[in-house]
Symmetry: C2
Subunit: 277 residues, 2 copies
């Protein structure tokens, strides 16, 4: 799979505004609505972030089944009714304007990366909000696990793997993962803390040798940015909500909207709501 060309060089919002971690989700959404763009790791601390994918109603069953059959990469937090741009997860939000940046796909090709998709909106679009691993970064940090990409002010690196998702109807595609380098002393906490948040990808799908996932070079991620690893760090891979985008690229539905990788939807939900114990 070729990586789609991205025209944007958006800087992480946590670097753009040192107070971004303290924004309310409503404030974050209002700023994105006015045009602010950038990766959202570290924004509105403690509030759940979500991947977005909108497909025509004709494709909605296949997408919902794809998510159901692949719950680790595609944990569904909400599904809208066709044509609706509101969600129970965020009071007053407009899903067409309130993400920092979107991607527009036609026949599986990336055709635009606007910060607003009102002109692309269709009345038959069903929107899926899918859990994001940024959510468990707070739990990891609280347990003392260093988050390298946040330390380095970068978007998290994401990779297309050689693991196929279970197909559903016309949808098929590889699993995408995010990677965080974790010092050995913190590996247990990283696994345990994320495992308690199954609605945001849960425990890692793999630790260690990237070639086991068909990843050739950690320094060349398919989405996001490469991160520097300390010598002892173990690469830890979590299933990633960009997986539906990879399914769009592989399966070529006539039309889809998604978030731009790393530039997520900020919900009003609190991370603890998704913690099972």
């Amino acid at each position: 799979m070729n990586r789609p060309h991205s025209a944007t060089g958006d800087r992480p919002l946590a670097l753009v505004d040192e107070h971004a971690h303290a924004w309310s989700p409503k404030t974050a959404r209002a700023r994105f609505r006015k045009g602010l763009t950038g990766p959202t790791a570290g924004v509105a601390a403690g509030h759940t972030q979500a991947n977005l994918i909108s497909v025509p109603a004709d494709w909605a069953y296949d997408m919902l089944l794809f998510c159901t059959r692949n719950p680790q990469p595609c944990p569904v937090l909400d599904v809208t009714d066709a044509g609706s741009w509101t969600t129970v997860l965020a009071d007053g939000a407009d899903l067409r304007t309130d993400l920092p940046r979107y991607r527009v796909w036609r026949d599986g090709e990336l055709v635009d990366e606007p910060s607003d998709v009102r002109e692309h909106w269709r009345d038959d679009l069903v929107t899926f909000l899918i859990g994001c691993s940024f959510t468990f970064e707070w739990a990891l940090a609280a347990a003392g696990v260093p988050i390298r990409h946040v330390e380095q002010g970068r978007n998290v690196p994401m990779y297309v793997t050689s693991r196929a998702c279970r197909p559903a109807g016309r949808l098929r595609g590889p699993m995408v993962v995010s990677m965080r380098p974790v010092p050995p002393a913190h590996l247990s906490a990283a696994i345990h803390e994320s495992s308690l948040l199954p609605a945001v990808h849960g425990s890692p799908v793999h630790c260690g040798d990237p070639s086991a996932l068909g990843i050739d070079d950690l320094d060349r991620p398919d989405f996001g940015e490469a991160v520097y690893r300390e010598p002892d760090d173990i690469p830890v891979f979590w299933a990633c909500g960009v997986t539906p985008q990879a399914a769009v690229m592989a399966s070529r539905p006539p039309f889809a909207l998604t978030h731009a990788p790393g530039q997520m939807f900020l919900t009003d939900a609190r991370d603890e709501q998704y913690r099972v114990a």
Copy 2:
């Protein structure tokens, strides 16, 4: 909602055969295929049991969305392709014959309770397998929590509550719960152990006063059998996979097949596979 009349007085299988807990899932399915019926609590210890509901393809999106929007009562373990009676969760199983007893619904009315649904099968049926709280009873028992209905050789009591599920398309209905009386000293373990199994309903939805759920009389369950409670026992309520049946009764799709309450599908999956930590 009126309770549907059930013609069956099937005895729990754990009473019928003292070795039922040691059956393999394959053995259990083969016996059910030959006509053995009865509630399956305690059968094939450690193997995951599932609720079943089959609806015409025209209703499958509504059902999948209903489950997605109500994950605690309706955690989806597998969805078949239309017309298929096989599942990835059980090698060689036939979903039309391998449950102890089924229910056949027309326009929301219970019309038959056969032990085999081959004569009712349709090529457009999509089958949903939904997590069952029998799965976490082993975890509770291992943590020392007494399971009253098993001790008493009864089916678990289930109640229609006053809590509405979030509707999806044409489907709406109340949440159904199962109830287990738990001694106060074991309440913490019961909550903790079940919370680690979110795919089989997870932590309780309520503990204590049944009227908070609109339940008038614990001795008159809507499904299953009443259980005797020790004086100090606290009634603990878990969301129940009979909820889709209640949605069928309330929403009246033209046709549906379900398991008979308490008479579940035995999968090859092991309970530990659904444990998140």
